[in-house]
Amino acid sequence: MNNRTQEITVGTMDAAKLLAIRSFTRKNSTLGFNRDKLVETILMLNAAIFILAIAAISLFILIRGLPLIFKVGITDFLLQLEWNPTAGSFGIGTMLAGTLAVTLTALLWAVPMGLATSIFMVELAPPRIGTLMGSLVELLAGIPSVVYGFFGLIVIIPFIRNYLGGSGLSVLAGAIVLGVMILPTIINISRDAIAAVPLDYKVGSLALGASHYQSIRRVILPAARSGIITAIILGMGRAIGETMAVVMVTGNSTIIPHSILSPTRTMTSNIVLEMGYASGDHQAALFATGVVLFIFIVILNLVVNLTLKAGKNYGAN
């Protein structure tokens, strides 16, 4: 078969296909069968299943956890320092303190560092370096948390034990590991917020005789404020929810941490450590811990929505 005949064959095949498609579409409409409708239904069905799944999980956690909270009493459950589930005392006060201590310490260093990095990436780095750093941040975000925990266990804990004292298993170790883990969230979101600030603001500021640094601090950062706050809150949400790495490096004692070198147990750790053998009220108490975490995250998400809305109302353009 020479080239020419092949061409012709291909040509006829295309024509045939076209005809087939045409007749198919026509058949569709004459039968009153609407393909758009089918696609819409499939999409809606998926969305419905997604919503149902979320509702089911939330409902399940609440049903399993809430009765115990009411049985113990909300204040007692949250603030009691005695956690002895086999003896019937269910106070997660120490875990609440542990979560707050680890999260806030992590934010204390990760927020300034993340913000400084994102300012550098947008405002100072040559475009190629900025892109490269972006990929590195993505990479950082993709490392499984157990790897971070393992690194903490092998490197950070001995370091703390040798140079700062204590066993090394501590709030500080948790905060270092967690901080690294939330850096990508903080950097990515605040970088996008800073990059979205109209160039007009910067040029306008420079034209008034402001230095680059003054323009960043007084115009660009305030203009990106709502995005930066969102970055911090989402980072905080991620820190509160993180479990694996934290379990591995914080020591998990149910005590109120009296310094950043003392061991602590977070709410998430509490669930993962005891879920294997818990039953009855004990299991319900773990679900109740989940309820508290759930409410934390809902509140943080609400704050994010409010911040973004406020930013939209105030910001120009």
Partner: protein, 253 residues
């Protein structure tokens, strides 16, 4: 009477990488006059304007040759403090770029970055600047409202107030009315007429009627060259160059 030359440009050429945007421009800009720069898009008039306050340097790969003198002192030299230059030469852009802050903070921004902290002094500067920009009557009662809530014309006058607050001697305007409606434009032109008593104004405009209405001198740019520069009346009534005549009579551009 010998009018004083405020800005003198001597053989200014600007290159963006391989492209030459300006070809050796010589221009004497008179103090307390409005000088309009006209010409079709891409003719180099904005580039020329931005070379006066050295804003072209923000674009990587820009090379500038020649010299500009303001009050006989060179702008392009190692000793030049760009911050001081931009304090002396204010700029208003095409799009009113108010900062996402209150009206008060927008005007106080310049004085603040230049070190004024005293609240009473700032209050005074803000009030005087807004008055000079014909905006005080409209916003004096709501200085703490977000600037983004003002109309386009008000925003542009706010930007002018912000420039006035740093007490410049020269104001560069890059098509300041192109985003405004006719009434706001008329108010802006009226303001420019008032400002020239105290400031030297250089304005880039697409609108030839506007140039004819508000300016004392007009320069016509084409393909990076200054084709003709003379008193506005003369340029519009008796253009010396055929290309100028073709442009102002609407034959191209």
């Amino acid at each position: 009477m010998n009018p004083k030359i405020k800005i003198k440009t001597s053989d200014i050429s600007v290159f963006y990488k391989d492209f030459q945007a300006l070809h050796g421009i010589n221009m004497d800009i008179q103090e307390h006059k409005v000088t309009a720069l006209i010409g079709p898009s891409g003719c180099g008039k904005s580039t020329f304007l931005r070379s006066i306050n050295r804003l072209n340097e923000l674009i990587a790969g820009t090379v500038i040759r020649g010299q500009i003198y303001i009050d006989a002192s060179p702008v392009y030299c190692k000793e030049m403090d760009v911050v001081a230059l931009r304090k002396q030469v204010g700029m208003v852009f095409q799009k009113p770029s108010v900062f996402p802050m209150s009206i008060y903070e927008n005007v106080a921004y310049g004085p603040r970055i230049h070190g004024i902290k005293n609240r009473e002094q700032l209050d005074e500067i803000v009030e005087n600047s807004l008055k000079a920009a014909n905006l005080w009557g409209e916003v004096g009662e709501r200085l703490n409202a977000p600037a983004a809530g003002l109309s386009g014309g008000q925003q542009q006058r706010l930007v002018i107030a912000r420039v006035l607050a740093v007490e410049p001697q020269v104001i560069l305007m890059d098509e300041p009315a192109s985003a405004l409606d006719p009434i706001s434009t008329a108010r802006l032109e009226e303001l420019i007429g008032e400002l020239k008593k105290n400031y030297t104004i250089v304005i880039v405009t697409h609108n030839m009627q506007q140039a004819a209405r508000i300016s004392d001198y007009t320069g016509f740019f084409l393909n990076g060259e200054l084709v003709e520069f003379s008193a506005t009346n003369e340029l519009f009534v008796n253009p010396r160059d055929q290309r100028t005549e073709d442009y102002i009579t609407g034959r191209f551009g």
